[in-house]
């Protein structure tokens, strides 16, 4: 793919959206935002109905057998799609980095897992690296800061892609916080297994977010966003928290994460 040349000049791609369990349950608009971004870039988007979760809760708790069962279910659900896109670096990382290793002793499943891995992408990296998208049609007046969620950053190299897209939004200013690459303390079950350590981490994050002067905090993973939103709100902060896809898709007219209905920006 030549940078800057949108793929829509060729035949549209049939893309499957991996909704992620947290988006499904808590923030459906992230799913709709992802669909809009993909369609704007010329994709035909489908949402395979038999998808639940990527299996991380089991995998990271040491329950490899359950993780395999769920991975097999996901592999079945996404068979045949040219690309699988998740609005999450963590779930994307699971599909891309961890599924093949789950089937070391099963060559045919391993091959299917590797095929899925090669077709799977995190949303912003799919838009920028694969489709060559540089600009989106959204506008946003205000200053935002971007937190690099750990799996997206370190497993998938998602760093510049969301920033590249944000920088091209009219009216938007990106103000980097100190240490955007340090974990917010969410860590899946970590935040409830070790709540006080997790709190120390997210407290530091909240301080850095406040110091950035941004009115809105963005990230690419809903788990981290819910953790940081919960902390900011507990501390009485006025910073709004959103998934980066919402801003990119111009869907910032609805309440931010953890804000009551009827509130807008």
């Amino acid at each position: 793919m030549v940078a800057g040349v949108p793929s829509s000049v060729s035949a549209p791609r049939r893309v499957a959206l991996f909704v992620t369990c947290l988006v499904d349950m808590f923030r459906p608009s992230v799913g709709f935002a992802a669909i809009k971004l993909l369609e704007d870039a010329g994709c035909i988007v489908e949402v395979p109905p038999v998808q639940v979760c990527c299996g991380q809760p089991a995998y990271n708790s040491g329950d490899r057998r359950t993780a395999r069962t769920i991975a097999a279910q996901v592999i079945d659900a996404f068979d045949g799609y040219e690309a699988v896109v998740a609005p999450s670096g963590s779930c994307g990382g699971m599909l891309i980095h961890h599924y093949p290793g789950l089937f070391e002793d099963d060559p045919s499943m391993r091959a299917r897992a590797e095929s899925l891995a090669s077709r799977s992408h995190e949303l912003t990296s799919f838009l920028v690296d694969v489709l060559g998208v540089r600009t989106v049609s959204a506008r946003h007046a205000g200053t935002v800061t971007y937190h690099d969620s750990c799996s997206g950053l370190r497993e998938l190299g998602v760093k510049e892609q969301p920033r590249e897209l944000l920088r091209h939004i009219d009216g938007l200013t990106l103000s980097e916080m100190r240490a955007p690459e340090v974990c917010c303390g969410f860590g899946g079950t970590f935040c409830v297994k070790y709540p006080d350590i997790s709190d120390a981490m997210v407290r530091e994050k909240a301080t850095d977010i406040a110091a950035s002067g941004a009115g809105t905090l963005l990230a690419g993973d809903l788990g981290c966003l819910m953790n940081m939103a919960g902390k900011l709100q507990r501390e009485g902060s006025a910073v709004k928290v959103r998934h980066v896809a919402e801003i990119l898709a111009g869907m910032d007219d609805q309440p931010a994460i953890g804000e009551p209905p009827g509130t807008t920006r």
């Binding site: 923030r27 369609e39 279910q73």
Partner: protein, 477 residues
């Protein structure tokens, strides 16, 4: 030291409530990681060196028996001695006997994590031999009767004021009655006190950063030069090192040294790098009469050939703990044993058993920062996950977690039922959270809501419910 890894959660809570510790950790977090970043930036080939370092260690581990025997042959040829210690108890006994053979009363020690691992000081004290720690940090915590909290900066958990109080209390008897406040003065006082101890020591005991098979040398890096005094002045020099410290050649050592100091302290190299190659020869102006190497296994050989082997690549730079946000929040003592931080979370279950240390591999968000800075590219999160798997297999995972997982897994494999259940939960949470958009407390989620609000779902149903309602229609015309 008595392990308290099983009490990790309580240790961590206490650490979070310790203002002195929090003060020290705040400085540590910025200092080490920033210096490493700058050092890496100044060396264009840093990433390639990390690959080479990993490859050297992997090659050595694949032929560990060969290189250890080669090392032993060289040491013997130089007139030194090699002692094989399968367990910690063997190592203690061997060192005790060596000390007794020269009638030692004091042992000048240069910091060695392996000595901590085998609880050597306690053993020596019980036989009436005084171990004197000569590394400044190690000396401070010895006076305070504390274990190290970091593998390269053992007293990093203390503030300058705490050190000043400790020195005043312990040096008063030596005639130092003034409470010092300047860093340099504290260092000078410790140096003065330690100088006599070097001269008095009968045995010098050091660890080793590397054992070089090609030459039979032990290699030590320090910033204080204390190791050079420990191993030159006394009559007997004992090197205590674990078996995975061996590497093939001096050339390999040069590669590893280049990534070691940069990863650890952000220095291009440590102030002192010393090779000890056998006892004093007739023409040498100084050096020990006897040179002994104690090679400790203590469970390491059982890791070879397993999925955990990668942990043996560790060169003890401490970068993983310097960059770990969990270590940064609670410090090293909370981990409850010799090796803290991410590498401790991997080593401790191996050395003490997963029953004692199951908490440690769980105390990670898997953020992966440790792996991203490890000079020998140890896949630390992956190894921690292996431990969680062993814990799960042995049914050591807490019952509540197991049951919750089993229920979730059952549901996740029944997508229609899952949809129905999540749809119900979504509506319930959205309904009762409507007024504020979030929950300040939530039944069964106390771990979360103790410190954070819990965002309510956005109204309108789950994604899949909305999608189905629209008949899979697009959001736009």
């Amino acid at each position: 030291m008595q392990p308290s890894a099983h009490a990790f959660a309580a240790n961590a809570s206490a650490a979070l409530a310790d203002p002195n510790l929090q003060d020290s950790l705040a400085k540590l977090k910025v200092g080490f990681s920033e210096r490493r970043r700058q050092a890496a930036e100044r060396l264009p080939e840093f990433e390639q060196l990390r690959d080479r370092a990993r490859d050297i260690k992997n090659h050595t581990l694949a032929h560990l028996d060969f290189y250890l025997e080669e090392f032993e042959r060289k040491v013997l040829a130089l007139g030194g001695h090699v002692h094989w210690a399968p367990t910690a108890a063997d190592a203690r006994r061997i060192i005790g006997e060596l000390c007794r053979s020269v009638g030692a009363r004091t042992v000048a020690k240069s910091k060695s994590m392996v000595a901590e691992e085998i609880a050597l000081n306690e053993h020596l004290e019980a036989m009436g031999v005084s171990p004197i720690e000569t590394d400044l940090g190690e000396y401070i915590i010895q006076l305070r009767n504390e274990p190290p909290s970091h593998i390269i900066a053992p007293a990093v958990h203390l503030t300058k004021d705490q050190v000043a109080d400790t020195f005043l209390e312990h040096h008063r008897a030596l005639g130092f009655t003034k409470r010092l406040t300047e860093r340099n003065d504290l260092v000078a006082e410790a140096r003065y006190v330690l100088r006599q101890k070097f001269l008095d020591a009968d045995v010098g005991l050091t660890g080793a950063n590397f054992l070089v098979a090609e030459t039979g040398s032990s290699m030590l890096v320090t910033n204080e030069g204390n190791a050079d005094l420990s191993n030159t002045l006394p009559r007997m020099h004992i090197v205590l090192a674990s078996i995975e410290k061996v590497i093939p050649t001096l050339e390999d050592a040069a590669v590893l040294l280049r990534v070691l100091a940069r990863s650890a302290t952000g220095q291009e190299s440590s102030a002192y790098t010393t090779l000890n190659t056998g006892p004093r020869r007739p023409e040498d102006p100084d050096g020990p009469e006897q040179y002994h190497v104690v090679l400790l296994d203590n469970g390491r050989s059982s890791v070879l050939g397993t999925e955990m082997q990668d942990m043996l690549r560790c060169i003890r730079c401490g970068a993983c703990m310097n960059h770990c946000p969990v270590y940064g929040a609670i410090g090293g003592h909370a981990y409850g044993w010799v090796y803290p931080g991410p590498i401790g979370a991997v080593l401790t279950p191996q050395l003490l058993g997963v029953e004692e240390a199951a908490n440690l591999p769980n105390a990670s968000t898997f953020c992966g920062r440790c792996e991203s800075v490890c000079p020998v590219r140890i896949p630390l999160p992956k190894l921690m996950r292996h431990w969680r798997e062993r814990e799960f297999e042995r049914h050591l995972t807490p019952r509540g977690v197991r049951r919750g997982l089993a229920a979730w897994a059952w549901l996740a494999q029944r997508p229609r039922l899952y949809r129905w259940m999540t749809g119900f939960a979504n509506r319930l949470l959205a309904l009762f959270g409507r007024a504020e958009g979030r929950y300040r407390s939530l039944p069964l989620a106390g771990g979360w809501t103790r410190f954070r609000d819990f965002p309510a779902p956005e109204p309108g149903g789950t994604f899949h419910a909305r999608w189905a309602r629209q008949g899979g229609a697009r959001t736009r015309p």
